[in-house]
């Protein structure tokens, strides 16, 4: 059983006790522990259940590669599932729950899945989709949904804060081991701007665990000196607890900084996502140890050899009293040596290699450890924890020769360089058969914008597994990178690293090499997703050749660990099954992030009130304070209506309409787009943009205009005012200001670059306030300062001056059909002007009105609305707007498109007014008209649709507009609008102008 040793543990502080709980059990650890080391120190070897079979699972690793020890951390708004115990720093009050087990970890009903494992072979899901047809929905899916799944989704809103940080550096170094620090010194010393990321809270990587000597001294000393030198450099930033998460195009990388996970009571953002632009990215990310594939290799207390060593040396924790070590390389012997040095026992080392004469094995022999060569594990004994192993010949089929009792099995199948970041953006790999690993191919790096490689890999990550060559490699890779970005590094300060030399590894992909099918079915490749050697071999038998297909078919490497332990072993088994070479099978694609990052860090600060910016007019606050019932209009919020106490929305709208029609209303129209177009060619330019003629507009006058896309479809409309000979002010729809400004600039910059025209978007310079209704003039006259009479300011004109002491430009334009002034004032004076109007209008009963009142009033007048009468498929001719299409102009955007046969087709649906026979019935939004016939496909034949439909309080009846086939030719006809409820609304086709067709009301 695992336990805390009486001494040792370079990362823990035995004087500082930390209390935590696991599945409700109160336990203690030390400051510096990870949750994993503390659990092991408390003898907790069983930590979770696997995804498919609910097999008992224990801690395998000591870092981010851990597939098994996933827990739910925290409670309520701080709860997070699938947290790795091996990367979770212990803190007081930590509350962890095991996952995937019901009713308890020790007794899990889902464990019966294990007995049913023969029904979960490779491709199980896909097979059940196919046959028998009924079975997926009624049998398999409900069962799998209950049994499978990792962790529980949080049920409460995340309590924590997150943020981004953008950083620009010359050199980004990912990985703060001795290689990374050596590279950082190199880059720091030449003055480059350097950012070094280390995912753990300790610098120096594995060197101190592996007894590496640097400059003939313990590596810890060199690490300490290197850090103190780097900290003094103003051009170097060191960031611990920050993982290099992903590498993207153009030298972009992300870093994931964990700020408060290790002490949640600390105030501030929990995670910070670094978004880094680097001229060169140097990855010194080290390597991950591979498991060996033998039967029972998933039983709790079967662990990676390196991890067992870490727990002893870093955390003073033994993973078991008696160890059996299975290996195919010399490095693993360090674990056996550490076990004995800690006063524990090694029952045997089973080395699959026949000849083992390296320095480390010989040291182990000298220490009296039993070393068996050419031997393998036939099977691990035990169910919820290891009780022993039976051993066999590696060369054979697994006949057990002897049983050895032990309580921990350490295994090492060699080390795989962490090439993820190199590969994220397309860096290619070579298979190094001598070292049994994929390593970066420096000839095929990920290419940046300038066509050169922007990622270099150094040290262990580059395949230099021994300490001596790894630091040298990191230094020379860094120097290469520095030269590429224009630095001239001087001679390096010499550095000598030493660790015991290692004899070559031997490729061992299953143990024993001729294992029976029965043993294969107990030999796990992917612990989290329960993929066994037998599954990959079955996939190959069924015809899967591509590693990507096999991954998806078997789910190998698809779990939250993304195959950190299983990838290479799985593809080696696939290669063997296909009788192919490993490099020909290749790896699956490495994608960011390297290790899961929180959703919160991806969202950053864009939540709550920072979720999305809302544009506010100068009157916004007043509207909010005065009963405004907001609706979104593009990124603005506009009041739908102003609700009074006890009033329904519909009642408010009716009141606003009648008050405006009978007296005077006030509308905040500031959201209207306003673009100034100026230059000798401005008229010519606007003639191209609008369907009608603008160049002949007189100074001081306004004209309504339509804009089409090149394809002839209506895209925007609005009033154009001519400010002077060369200057026009174009009003756009509220949602269209930015789009139309961009549209103008695009034509000016790409097609008509030689035309002398400048534009400026002045939408936000002005508050635009509409004073509307028969008493509008009286209100403005009361404010004084300007002659607003019909003679001085006739319909469709504007003047400039001051009203009530405020600089103002009133336009005599009307979207309601009433006497109406739209007055532009400086935005800073908008609220003051609004207040003046409200005050001056008191005697006339002035009331503010909202967008729904505006809509109803314009519909009463038969005015179209972009977005209601248009939907991107409608042309001006459909809306009977031929009068606004100039026949005199040679060209305008959309003209040619209007000539296409489909656009000129007389049967296009055209705009008409619609009156329901029952005046109280309002046609539902979006209703379609039918003619009683049925199409070939059985659908009712549709002959039109409603585009705007309201109850008009002015007329005391329902009114609507719609696009109807041959509509204008069918005046007086009665057509049917079926409703969703199955009723039919009878509707009479009429003219679209319901109120004051002569325009008497507005032209006074």
């Amino acid at each position: 059983m695992s336990t805390r040793l009486s001494s040792g543990g370079r990362l823990i502080d035995r004087t500082k006790l930390v209390e935590f709980s696991f599945d409700g059990k109160r336990l203690t650890g030390f400051k510096g522990d990870t949750l994993a080391s503390a659990l092991l120190a408390n003898g907790q070897t069983l930590v979770g259940r696997s995804f498919k079979y609910h097999r008992p699972r224990g801690i395998v690793a000591s870092g981010p590669e851990e597939p098994n020890a996933l827990v739910g951390l925290g409670e309520g708004g701080k709860f997070e599932p699938n947290q790795r115990a091996t990367t979770t720093e212990l803190f007081n009050g930590l509350n962890a729950k095991s996952q995937n087990a019901w009713p308890s970890l020790e007794f899990d009903i889902g464990g019966v899945n294990r007995i049913m494992s023969p029904i979960f072979p490779a491709g199980f899901y896909y097979k059940t989709f196919m046959f028998p047809r009924f079975a997926w929905k009624h049998m398999f899916e409900p069962f799998i949904r209950k049994a499978a799944g990792l962790g529980a989704a949080p049920t409460e809103k995340d309590d924590d804060k997150y943020e981004y940080f953008y950083a620009h550096v010359d050199v980004l170094i990912v990985g703060g081991g001795t290689s990374g620090l050596a590279a950082a010194l190199e880059a720091g010393r030449v003055g480059a701007k350097v950012l070094v990321l280390e995912q753990t809270n300790t610098w120096g990587g594995r060197a101190p665990v592996d007894d590496v000597l640097i400059n003939e001294k313990n590596s810890s000393k060199w690490i300490k000196n290197a850090l103190s030198e780097l900290k003094k450099m103003p051009n170097v930033t060191l960031r611990a607890r920050t993982m290099g998460a992903g590498v993207y195009d153009h030298g972009w990388a992300t870093g994931y900084e964990c700020l408060t996970d290790h002490s949640p009571e600390k105030y501030g953002p929990r995670h910070r996502l670094w978004r880094i632009r680097a001229k060169r990215i140097i990855t010194t990310t080290g390597a991950i140890e591979r498991p060996l594939s033998f039967a029972g290799n998933d039983i709790p207390a079967v662990m990676l050899a390196g991890a067992v060593r870490d727990y002893i040396i870093d955390y003073g924790t033994s993973c078991g009293d008696v160890m059996v070590l299975a290996a195919n390389n010399d490095d693993a012997y360090r674990t056996a040596i550490a076990q004995v040095q800690a006063g524990l026992k090694v029952a045997a080392i089973l080395d699959a290699r026949v000849s083992v004469e390296g320095a480390l094995p010989n040291q182990a022999r000298k220490m009296g450890i039993r070393v068996e060569t050419g031997m393998a594990i036939s099977k691990v004994k035990g169910s919820k924890k290891v009780t022993g192993v039976s051993i066999c010949l590696q060369a054979g089929e697994g006949v057990p020769l002897e049983e050895i009792k032990c309580d921990v099995v350490a295994m090492s199948g060699g080390w795989s360089p962490i090439v993820h970041l190199w590969s994220h953006c397309g860096g290619k790999l070579n298979w190094d058969a001598n070292q049994a690993m994929f390593r970066p191919d420096p000839e095929r790096p990920p290419l940046g914008a300038d066509g050169t490689g922007f990622v270099v890999v150094g040290g262990t990550a580059n395949g230099c597994l021994d300490a001596k060559s790894s630091m040298q490699d990191a230094i020379s890779q860094c120097r290469k990178a520095l030269k590429e970005i224009g630095y001239k590094p001087k001679a390096s300060i010499p550095l000598k690293a030493f660790a015991e030399p290692e004899a070559p590894i031997e490729q061992i992909w299953q143990m024993p090499q001729g294992m029976s099918i029965k043993l294969q079915a107990k030999t796990f490749l992917d612990y989290q997703n329960d993929v066994k050697v037998s599954d990959v071999r079955l996939a190959a038998l069924e015809g899967y050749e591509s590693v990507e297909h096999t991954k998806r078919y078997t789910t190998l490497g698809m779990a939250t660990d993304q195959g950190k332990l299983s990838n290479i072993n799985g593809l080696a088994i696939l290669a063997d099954s296909l009788n192919a070479d490993i490099p020909n099978v290749g790896t699956t694609t490495f994608r960011p992030p390297y290790h899961p990052i929180s959703m919160g860090s991806i969202v950053g600060d864009a939540r709550g009130k920072l979720f999305k910016p809302i544009r506010k007019t100068p009157i916004h606050q007043w509207i909010e304070d005065n009963g405004g019932f907001f609706e979104p209009v593009a990124d603005w919020r506009r009041p739908y209506c102003y609700q009074r106490d006890g009033e329904s929305v519909q009642e408010a709208v009716t009141r606003e309409i009648l008050n405006t029609r009978n007296s005077v209303g006030l509308l905040d129209a500031s959201t209207l787009g306003k673009i100034v177009v100026k230059g000798p060619d401005a008229g010519k330019f606007l003639d191209m943009l609008y369907t009608n003629m603008m160049s002949n507009l007189k100074v001081g006058r306004c004209r309504y205009g339509l804009m089409c896309t090149e394809n002839g479809f209506l895209t925007d409309d609005g009033v154009v005012a001519r400010l002077d000979e060369e200057t026009f002010l174009c009003h756009t729809t509220s949602g269209g200001s930015d789009r139309i400004h961009t549209w103008m600039e695009e034509w000016l910059q790409t097609e008509w670059w030689d035309w002398k025209v400048y534009t400026a978007n002045v939408t936000e310079q002005y508050a635009q306030i509409a004073v509307v209704g028969p008493n509008a003039r009286k209100v403005l006259e009361k404010l004084g300062g300007m002659d607003v009479s019909a003679e001085a300011l006739p319909f469709m004109s504007f003047v400039e001056g001051k009203i009530g002491g405020i600089k103002a430009r009133p336009f005599r334009i009307s979207f309601s059909g009433e006497l109406s002034y739209e007055i532009a004032v400086p935005a800073s004076d908008g609220q003051a002007f609004w207040d003046m109007c409200m005050e001056a209008g008191v005697e006339y009963g002035i009331q503010p009105y909202g967008t729904e009142c505006l809509h109803v009033m314009r519909a009463e007048k038969g005015f179209i609305m972009i977005g209601d009468e248009t939907d991107g498929t409608v042309i001006p001719q459909d809306l009977n707007l031929q009068w606004a299409i100039s026949k005199k102009k040679d060209d305008f955007l959309g003209k040619r498109a209007h000539l296409r046969s489909n656009m000129a087709d007389p049967s296009r649906w055209k705009l008409v007014g619609l009156k329901t026979i029952d005046p109280e019935v309002v046609i539902p939004d979006g209703a379609y008209a039918t003619d009683g016939t049925v199409r070939e496909n059985g659908v009712k034949n549709m002959i039109g649709r409603v585009t705007s439909t309201y109850f008009s309080p002015t007329l005391g009846r329902s009114i609507a507009m719609g696009l109807i086939e041959f509509g204008p030719d069918r005046m007086g006809e009665i057509i049917d609008f079926p409703t969703l409820e199955g009723e039919i609304i009878k509707v009479k086709i009429c003219d679209q102008v319901f109120l004051d067709p002569e325009g008497v009301r507005q032209n006074v």
């Binding site: 632009r277 910016p613 100068p618 936000e764 002491g805 405020i806």
Partner: protein, 187 residues
Amino acid sequence: MFSVTGLNGASSNGSINVKDAGLIGMITLRGDLKSDAIAKVIKVVTGTNIPDQRQCVFTSKGATAWMSPDELLVMVDYESVDATIAKMEKSLQGVHSLIVNVSDARAVFELTGSSIRDVISKGSPADMSSKILPVGEVRRTRIAQLAVAFWFTSDTTARLVCFRSVAGYVMDWLENASEKGSEVGFH
């Protein structure tokens, strides 16, 4: 006498101080920046030369910032904008150009503190190092989801400009990004 800014005097005190810089006269001038006529008018109204690419130049009379290859931002007293525009229009008569008042279309923030660069880096992808963005250089970029421009007026003071309608969002954003406990210590 009536005029209020979009920020209406808002301020916050976190790792940096943020406050409403008040009403500032801003005029957009578009034209041929290489022409003598424009150089002359800029000299007259702000006392500055035509700024080089991305530069912002100041005198006691006002400031001129480079906005794009054919656009300048002229900054003067809010009260004198109309007179300045009239002067500019008169002297550029017959010269193809565009002069518009944008004073009320913007909100201006006064930022003070030693960690302005770190705070802005939480939302702007621009390189905020003092080497790349020294005092006197203007940057048109974004913060979070919004277009902004800013320039340092000293090592510890900067001005930031955004559209008036989103002044409240930018204020909230700056307040959040400069909240104590979230310091980065990068720049």
